[in-house]
Symmetry: C2
Subunit: 212 residues, 2 copies
């Protein structure tokens, strides 16, 4: 996404057409996925016409790619931030869960979007991730320090990490079921549910991994 007109003086964070398009595309793609999105709808959302989309981004594919990379980076939890802190285990988990669920509350469509596109073109996206420099080694280091201190039960770090992410992310994917069926379409009730979860999930994890 460097297509940006070079060094023109940009007096204000003025909404250039390109940025407007990207915002509109993000909204539409996030909600409907690549295949469910229509260039016309993005144009409407940006209040311009289709031709302009192709003028700025040659194709739907290009426009999508400009969106996806940023979205994926946002979805990846900021592991190193937790890793590098010197907080006690309990605080680390609490901080991570709260921060991650907060992010998802601000981007509720992100999880399904990412999973959907991963399913559509797994290999292409794996290449992208590798290009971005995501290293499995980082994951291995996640709870290393804690383990050495014998503060947690012996669960493989990969499983532990997957468990934590699962507990945070899944409710957003299953939202239509939870909100629609369990809470009878009461959005307020679902938001309360998410709010409660921040503490409950952290406690759940701490309980699960603490040696008794």
């Amino acid at each position: 996404m460097k297509i940006n007109q070079k060094n023109k003086i940009m007096p204000d964070p003025i909404l250039t057409t390109e940025k407007i398009i990207l915002e509109a595309a993000k909204k539409v793609f996030l909600e409907k996925g690549f295949e469910g999105s229509r260039m016309q709808l993005i144009a409407d959302e940006a209040d311009i016409n289709k031709a302009l989309l192709h003028y700025y981004f040659r194709s739907k594919d290009n426009l999508f790619e400009a969106i996806f990379e940023e979205a994926f980076m946002q979805f990846l939890p900021n592991i190193s931030q937790v890793l590098n802190s010197e907080l006690p285990l309990v605080d680390k988990v609490n901080a991570f869960v709260e921060q991650y669920i907060n992010m998802l509350q601000n981007n509720p469509h992100l999880p399904i979007f990412i999973m959907r596109e991963l399913q559509r073109e797994p290999q292409r996206i794996i290449e992208l991730i590798k290009k971005l420099g995501l290293k499995p080694e980082l994951i291995e280091a996640f709870f290393k320090k804690e383990k050495e201190k014998n503060q947690i039960v012996t669960i493989p770090t990969t499983h532990l990490l997957v468990n934590i992410i699962s507990l945070c992310v899944f409710p957003f994917m299953a939202r239509p079921i939870i909100e629609g069926i369990v809470f009878n379409n009461d959005k307020e009730a679902f938001n309360n549910f998410l709010q409660e979860r921040k503490k409950l999930v952290a406690d759940f994890i701490i309980n699960a991994i603490t040696v008794k």
Copy 2:
């Protein structure tokens, strides 16, 4: 797919055209979703031509609906089965997790498929679910007995249930990431990972909810 009529003698599981179509449609829809699927591809998969699809099912929509309802029922965990057993809590959780992950291993595309379509038409599908008679009350009863026995910590049943499902389902949605990045595209390693999970997830849950 009433599957195996128990012990009826099945002279030949005669493959009527309609059933062949349904099988082909299931395969394609499950993998690519409604919007990503093409009638032509389903026809190819069934080794017939497009026109026949429309002869049996008037439209793509109809064909899809014939698939979705069954898939959704399969996705819903069989809660009452666990509920009605008289096993100790530990065994209940173990049995549930193993059985549910087993089912997902046999239908790895199910989770993303369901979530994707829920996102596409939430209201329509909520209506379907209600028609099918899913009752929130069932959920409330889930761990009621255990709670009365004070065997578990006080976590709201809804959260507990969501946690359990999350831990089972999410890895299948994130499969491309886990298999592709963590396990370097080694399918065998990912399957081992799933195998381990059956016990690890059950332990994780038990640990989390057991009073110390």
